[in-house]
C-alpha cells in the first residue's frame, strides 16, 4: 500500500478541504479548486511525458482546447454531451497520433519548437474560425449529465458534487499513473528518459512508447478541457494560447519535474491562486518567472517537501515477495 501513499494523502486532503472551507464560510473556494483540479489533470499528463519519458511538449494547451472546443460545438449542436466528450477525446488522441509520429523523432529544443508550433496553429485556428466564436469563444455550453441527476456544471447548488467529481478524477489519474510508472511499460518510458539506446537495446520500441505516452498526455489535457468547458459553460481561445502551455510546463517544473504528486500539488495550488486573482495583472508573468527561476535554481526540479519522499516510495522502494 505504500506505493499509493501519495494517492491516500491526496484523498485525505481532498476530504479535509471542504470541511475547512465550510467552517470558514468560504465554500466559494471550491469553485476555483474544482477548476484548478482540471488544470492539474492536464499538467499530470505533461508530467508523465516530460518528467518521466523526457519528451518536452509545448502543445498541451492545444490538446486542452481540442477537447474543450469539440465538446462545446457538438454539445451546442444538440449531441449528448457524453457522446461529444467521447468524440472529443478520440479526436485529441488521433491528432496526437498523427502529429506525434513525425514530431517525436525530434529531440530537445527541436521537439519543443515543433510542439510549440502545433500549439500556435491550434490557437490561430480557434481564433480564426468564425464557427468557433473567434475571440469570444463558445458560450452557453450545456451541463454534462454524469450519472442520474448529477451534472458537471458550475451552478452554485452543484458546487460540492462538482468538487467531488473533479477531485475523484484527479485521484484516479494519480492512481493510474502510479500504477503505470511501476509497470513494464512505465519502466520502458522512464528508461527512454535517460538512455534511449539502453531502452532500445533491452527491446523497447522507443518510437512507439514515446508515441503512446504523447497520446496519454494529450488525452489527459483533452479530458480536462472537455469537462472544464462544461463546468464553466464556455471556452475561449485563451485556453489554447501557448502561454497556457508554458503554464503547464512551469507547474511540472515546480512540482519536481519527475514527480506526479508534486505536479498535482503545484497544479492545484498555483492554479487556485491564479484563479483567485492573487497574481493580478501579473498572472502570466508569475508563471514565466517561476519557470525561469526553477530552470536557474533547480533544473532537475524543486522537491516539494512532502512529494519528494512520496516519490521515493513510488519509484525507489518496492520489496519483492
Amino acid at each position: 500500500m505504500k506505493k499509493y501513499s501519495s494517492v491516500l494523502i491526496f484523498l485525505c486532503i481532498a476530504v479535509l478541504i471542504p470541511i475547512f472551507t465550510s467552517l470558514a464560510g468560504k465554500n466559494f473556494y471550491l469553485t476555483q479548486l474544482t477548476m484548478a483540479a482540471y488544470y492539474a489533470l492536464a499538467a499530470l499528463g505533461l508530467c508523465l511525458l516530460l518528467g518521466y519519458a523526457g519528451q518536452i511538449s509545448l502543445g498541451q494547451a492545444g490538446f486542452f482546447a481540442i477537447g474543450g472546443y469539440i465538446s462545446a460545438i457538438l454539445s451546442n449542436a444538440g449531441l449528448d454531451p457524453r457522446l461529444a466528450f467521447i468524440v472529443s477525446i478520440i479526436s485529441a488522441a488521433l491528432i496526437a497520433f498523427i502529429i506525434g509520429i513525425p514530431v517525436l523523432k525530434l529531440k530537445g529544443h527541436y521537439l519543443a519548437m515543433a510542439t510549440l508550433g502545433f500549439g500556435v496553429i491550434i490557437e490561430k485556428l480557434v481564433r480564426g474560425i468564425p464557427a468557433l466564436g473567434g475571440a469570444d469563444g463558445i458560450s452557453n455550453v450545456p451541463d454534462f449529465p454524469l450519472i442520474g441527476s448529477i451534472h458537471i456544471t458550475g451552478g452554485r447548488a452543484d458546487r460540492m458534487p462538482n468538487y467531488i467529481i473533479a477531485f475523484t478524477l484527479v485521484a484516479l489519474a494519480l492512481f493510474v499513473l502510479t500504477n503505470l510508472l511501476s509497470s513494464r511499460s512505465g519502466r520502458a518510458l522512464r528508461a527512454i528518459h535517460e538512455s534511449e539506446d539502453a531502452a532500445s537495446a533491452a527491446g523497447v520500441n522507443t518510437a512507439r512508447t514515446k508515441l503512446i505516452t504523447f497520446i496519454i498526455a494529450a488525452v489527459s489535457a483533452a479530458v480536462a478541457g472537455s469537462l472544464l468547458t462544461h463546468y464553466n459553460g464556455s471556452i475561449g481561445p485563451g485556453e489554447a494560447a501557448p502561454l497556457k502551455s508554458i503554464r503547464y510546463l512551469s507547474i511540472v517544473a515546480v512540482g519536481g519535474i519527475s514527480n506526479i504528486a508534486g505536479t498535482l500539488a503545484a497544479g492545484l495550488i498555483l492554479n487556485f491562486l491564479s484563479l483567485r486573482g492573487v497574481f493580478g495583472v501579473y498572472d502570466d508573468a508569475v508563471f514565466g518567472v517561476i519557470l525561469v527561476a526553477v530552470m536557474i535554481l533547480a533544473p532537475e526540479g524543486f522537491k516539494l517537501s512532502i512529494p519528494s519522499w512520496i516519490t521515493k516510495k513510488i519509484t525507489g522502494r518496492k520489496r519483492s515477495t
Binding site: 513494464r184 519502466r187 535517460e194 531502452a199 532500445s200 533491452a202 522502494r317
Partner: protein, 268 residues
C-alpha cells in the same frame, strides 16, 4: 516482422550462428568498416580487437542495430538481421552492454534489471495502468528473474538502491545483469573491462568464462589484451576498418602483422 517468425524455427547450424558478410560502413569520407566478413560459432567467445580507430565499435554497433550498414549482410541463426533496428535485434535474442555504462540513474537497481525482461513479457500501457492480472503476474515474474540475475552478479543486496548511487564497477555488473536476465542467445560486450581496476577485471574475466561454460555465446570487443587472450576462442583483428587476421589466441599472438600494428613499426 520476419525476425519473430523465423527465430527458433531453424535448426541451429553451428556455422550459421552469426555470419557477417562483406559488411561496410562509411562516415563521410572515412571507411570505418571496410568489407568485413567473419563467422562466429555458437557457444564460443569471439573477440574483435584492433588499435584505436580500427572500426571495432562501429562493427559492434552495426551488429547491435544501433547504426545501419551501407552494404553487406549480417545473419543470425539463418535469419537476415542486417536492417533490423536495435529493439528488433533484442527480440531476436541478441543483447548488449555499453562501453560507457547506460543505466537509468533514477531507477532502482532492480528496476534497471527488470527492464531487461522487456522482450520476455508483453503487458502494455493499459494493463499497467489498470493493474490487469496479466500485468501483475508478469511484474512478479520480472522481479523474480531480475533478483536472480542480480544475485548472479552478487549485487542483490543493492536491489533497492538508486542505480546512479553505486560505484562504476557495480554499475557495469548491473548492466550485465540487465542483458543476462533476458537469457540471450548471443551476448554482445562492448569493452566490458574499460574503467575497471585490475581486481574488477579479473572478476569480470572469471564471470565471462563462467557464462561461456553455461552455454552462452559471447561477442566481445575489448582493449584489454590479457583478458582477450585468456578467454577468447577466436579473435578477429581489425585495422583501419579491414580484417587483417583471424584465429585462435595463440595464433594471433604470433601473427606478424598483428604484432606490428600493436607494437608499432618505426617505418610504418
Amino acid at each position: 516482422m520476419d525476425y519473430k517468425k523465423n527465430y527458433g524455427k531453424e535448426e541451429i547450424n553451428m556455422s550459421s550462428f552469426l555470419s557477417i558478410q562483406n559488411l561496410s560502413k562509411n562516415f563521410g569520407g572515412l571507411r570505418a568498416v571496410d568489407s568485413v566478413s567473419f563467422d562466429m560459432k555458437q557457444n564460443t567467445i569471439h573477440s574483435v580487437i584492433g588499435p584505436n580507430g580500427a572500426g571495432k565499435t562501429t562493427l559492434f554497433n552495426l551488429i547491435a542495430g544501433s547504426i545501419q550498414s551501407d552494404s553487406g549482410s549480417i545473419s543470425f541463426l539463418n535469419t537476415d538481421i542486417t536492417s533490423l533496428e536495435s529493439y528488433q535485434i533484442a527480440h531476436c535474442g541478441i543483447f548488449r552492454t555499453f562501453q560507457a555504462v547506460k543505466l537509468s540513474d533514477r531507477m532502482s537497481v532492480i528496476e534497471n534489471v527488470m527492464l531487461g525482461m522487456h522482450t520476455k513479457t508483453s503487458s502494455g500501457f493499459l494493463g499497467g495502468m489498470m493493474l490487469s492480472p496479466k500485468a501483475r503476474s508478469e511484474e512478479a515474474y520480472m522481479r523474480e528473474e531480475a533478483f536472480k540475475a542480480l544475485a548472479d552478479v552478487g549485487l542483490e543486496q543493492y536491489a533497492l538502491e538508486e542505480a546512479g548511487s553505486l560505484p562504476f564497477g557495480s554499475q557495469r555488473m548491473i548492466e550485465l545483469a540487465r542483458a543476462l536476465v533476458a537469457r540471450p542467445s548471443l551476448l554482445l560486450l562492448d569493452e566490458p573491462a574499460s574503467g575497471l581496476n585490475m581486481k574488477e577485471t579479473e572478476e569480470l574475466t572469471y564471470k565471462i568464462s563462467v557464462l561461456k561454460n553455461r552455454g552462452l555465446s559471447i561477442l566481445l570487443v575489448e582493449h584489454d589484451m590479457s583478458l582477450v587472450m585468456e578467454i577468447s576462442d577466436t579473435i578477429t583483428v581489425l585495422n583501419f576498418g579491414k580484417k587483417i587476421a583471424e584465429g585462435k589466441p595463440c595464433d594471433i599472438q604470433k601473427n606478424e602483422e598483428v604484432i606490428r600494428i600493436y607494437l608499432g613499426d618505426d617505418n610504418a
